[in-house]
């Protein structure tokens, strides 16, 4: 296998995108078959590249150290494999779910383009190349959200573009700073200690990475998109692809580009962001009344665990963060897909209208349950393992507050999923939805595959931890230390696991209490917490988008522009209207009058000009 093979994961999806885009809308089945086949090819590419550990392709590109530089090694090959796996599942799923979408042509085009760009971003070994692919992803995200075809879709799409643009801009700034301080743009050559300028670069690049992953406060477009964008997009971008890319980059930043010390300021900043994201987003998730929106807030909340894990800068924490990333991508993708499956059959995702679907949609319910238990961290699923690792890591840093925040997050995660599962699949059959049946196989199959993976990765956690995660961290820990993350992977008999289990029990208690209080209506089970004094106010404010930095930013800008308009623009305008323009007009008027069209006049100027020039030259010569 030669180095040019590295181009295939980029070129092939891009070509597939073009072909899929060109197939006329009238032809139905061919498109879906082709899409699934193409994604299979991409998956095959992912596998074959995964078996190839080290490949690199360097060609001159723009000069000045900006090369077209692709590099495959254990980390990127692992992400590449994960990406292609998700692409395949999404395509399989979309084959049924999206087949009647009026703009399905564009949908597949963008999905494969996004895959091409993502692969490019993962393989890039030059910052400029990375930025190129990274920015291109913004556009596909934008386009895919607009495909939701809701009245507000476009607005949300613009929001995602602006927030993403801001994050990417700060990342570019960070790269610029890094370039200035290291003098190279080749990613694997950079390894600096984050001091001074480099610390600023670290923070700026970190914003870019966590912004892509959707951490707070850059998350606000995700819940909006949950309602405005196609559900398969949610499973595709925010749940899997963007998490993988964002956390991949964050891990690269903290492991490779910078030397993040345990307990250093930067590490603590990261941990604070992670912890805040966990807690705040989970509280928001808890009270949601819409299935998809609830999931989307969890998609934000779970990012917190990954950031927290990586922020600990302790091998087990980092490994936990990365493991959580892949786990999260699996179960969150599964959850969104099962929400999509429910929507596909019932036409709604409002918790209030749903209920007791487990009998009619048993496979969806099964998949959902496994994924929900996994995300809640129930033994022995994968979520349990990765969360335990993060907890251990957080405790080892000596700041137990972060571990506590993570546990709080765990409580409410489980509570909200109890609520969701209870109100959608279990409990009494609601009357709002007509009788229905299980979705088609291509919809259910991806969900079940993901659920199965969740179980596999939990029970046989040695497999992913040793084949995927361990190689990434090797070489980053002090020599001699033996890496083994599986030590207490599924052990229930240690204090950390005990606390976790206690959390789950508390969550169950909260749910049952709320369920009873609200008259056995599962979708209202979170109301007691919602109604807690103090919290209520915060929730209201939050519902009114008070904490949405983007919305606040827009308001601030409007206010600023008003102020500017009143106090700066108007006076300048006055100056302009009354002084500059008037003076300009007068001069212009006089000059225009002078050009009266008479030949003799013009000739007189010419001759006069000649005389004056002669005179001036003679004067100057004296």
């Amino acid at each position: 296998m030669t180095a040019t093979t590295l181009l295939w994961p980029i070129v092939f999806p891009a070509a597939a995108a073009i072909i899929l885009f060109l197939i006329p809308s009238r032809i139905k089945v061919v498109r879906e078959v082709l899409a699934v086949l193409s994604s299979l090819v991409v998956l095959y590419l992912g596998f074959s590249l995964f078996s190839q550990k080290n490949l690199s392709l360097v060609t001159d590109w723009l000069g000045m150290g900006i090369n077209f530089d692709l590099r495959l090694y254990h980390f990127s090959s692992f992400i590449l494999l994960a990406l292609s796996g998700f692409l395949f599942l999404i395509c399989l799923y979309s084959a049924v779910k999206m087949k009647d979408h009026p703009r399905v042509r564009e949908y597949y085009g963008y999905v494969f383009l996004a895959a091409a760009f993502s692969n490019g971003a993962v393989l890039a070994n030059n910052f400029i190349l990375l930025v190129f692919f990274w920015e291109a992803l913004l556009i596909t995200t934008y386009a895919l959200i607009t495909l939701g075809l809701k009245p507000t879709s476009h607005r949300t799409a613009v929001k995602s573009l602006i927030i993403g643009g801001f994050c990417d801009f700060s990342m570019i700034l960070g790269i610029g700073l890094l370039w200035a301080s290291t003098g190279t743009l080749t990613m694997d050559k950079i390894h600096v200690e984050p001091h001074g300028l480099a610390a600023a670069a670290f923070i700026l690049m970190m914003i870019g990475a966590i912004g892509k992953a959707g951490a707070m406060p850059f998350h606000t477009w995700i819940p909006d998109a949950a309602l405005d964008a196609p559900v398969s997009f949610m499973a595709f971008m925010p749940a899997s692809f963007e998490k993988l890319l964002g956390i991949y980059l964050l891990a690269r930043i903290t492991l490779d580009f910078f030397e993040l010390k345990v307990g250093s300021t930067l590490a603590i900043i990261l941990m604070i962001i992670g912890a805040a994201t966990i807690v705040l987003a989970v509280f928001m998730a808890l009270i949601q009344k819409d299935f998809k929106k609830l999931l989307s807030f969890h998609a934000v909340s779970q990012v917190g665990y990954m950031i927290l894990g990586i922020g600990t800068a302790i091998p087990i924490g980092i490994a936990g963060g990365i493991f959580h990333m892949i786990n999260h991508a699996m179960y969150k993708c599964g959850l969104f897909l099962s929400a999509g499956s429910v929507e596909h059959r019932t036409g709604t995702t409002e918790l209030k209208k749903l209920g007791g679907l487990s009998r009619e949609m048993p496979w969806t319910a099964l998949g959902f349950t496994v994924c929900a238990l996994a995300i809640s961290g129930v033994w022995p699923l994968n979520g349990f393992v990765s969360k335990e690792m993060v907890f251990h890591g957080a405790l080892e840093t000596g700041y137990p507050i972060f571990a506590i925040a993570a546990w709080v997050g765990a409580i409410f995660t489980f509570a909200s999923f109890l609520k969701a599962g209870h109100s959608v699949f279990f409990g009494a059959r609601s009357t709002d939805v007509p009788k229905t049946k299980e979705s088609e196989a291509p919809i259910v199959l991806p969900i079940l595959i993901l659920a199965a993976l969740c179980i596999t990765f939990g029970v046989y956690n040695k497999l992913p931890l040793q084949t995927f995660i361990q190689p990434i961290l090797e070489g980053h820990v002090e020599a001699g230390e033996h890496l083994d993350f599986t030590a207490h992977a599924l052990s229930l008999f240690n204090p950390v696991a005990a606390v976790s289990i206690l959390c789950l029990i508390i969550a169950l208690g909260i749910h049952l209490y709320g369920w009873n209080r609200s008259g056995k209506k599962a979708y209202l089970a979170s109301e007691p917490i919602h109604q807690l004094p103090g919290l209520r106010k915060l929730y209201d404010l939050s519902e009114a988008r008070f904490f949405d930095l983007y919305e606040q930013g827009v308001k601030l800008l409007q206010w600023l522009s008003k102020v500017l308009f009143r106090f700066i623009d108007r006076p300048i305008d006055y100056l302009y209207e009354k002084v500059v323009t008037a003076v300009g007009r007068t001069f212009t008027g006089i000059l225009q009058k002078a050009h009266n069209g008479q030949y003799a006049n013009y000739l007189a100027w010419t001759i006069g000009g000649l005389v004056v020039v002669i005179w001036i030259i003679l004067q100057l010569l004296k």
Binding site: Q592, H595, N596, G597, Q598, Y599, A600, L603, A604, I607
Partner: protein, 102 residues
């Protein structure tokens, strides 16, 4: 010998002055072009006289002849323009040619 040069330049300047005076004050288009002709006479006089005074009259002659050819070309173009203007305007008054201004 070189003093003679200034004699010719003196007359050549007079010719140019007459031409420019006419261009500045007269109104008939054809008259204006006659004035241009007078100016070019002044120039060709200067060329030939310069050559004669500087011992390079052969060179000056060839310049003068070339200049005359240019003149013919110009005259033809200008007169064609004047005739066209006359067709549009039914007048040869240069003051009417002031539609383009400002």
């Amino acid at each position: 010998m070189s003093n003679l040069w200034f004699l010719y330049l003196f007359f050549s300047a007079l010719l140019i002055f007459i031409g420019i005076y006419c261009l500045l004050t007269m109104r008939n288009l054809i008259k204006l072009f006659i004035a241009v002709e007078i100016i070019s006479k002044g120039v060709s006089l200067a060329i030939v006289a310069t050559g004669a005074v500087k011992n390079s009259v052969l060179l000056a002659q060839s310049l003068a002849i070339t200049y005359i050819v240019v003149e013919v070309s110009l005259v033809a173009t200008a007169l064609a323009l004047i005739i066209n203007i006359y067709k549009k305007n039914k007048s040869l008054d240069v003051r009417l040619l002031s539609k383009l201004k400002g």
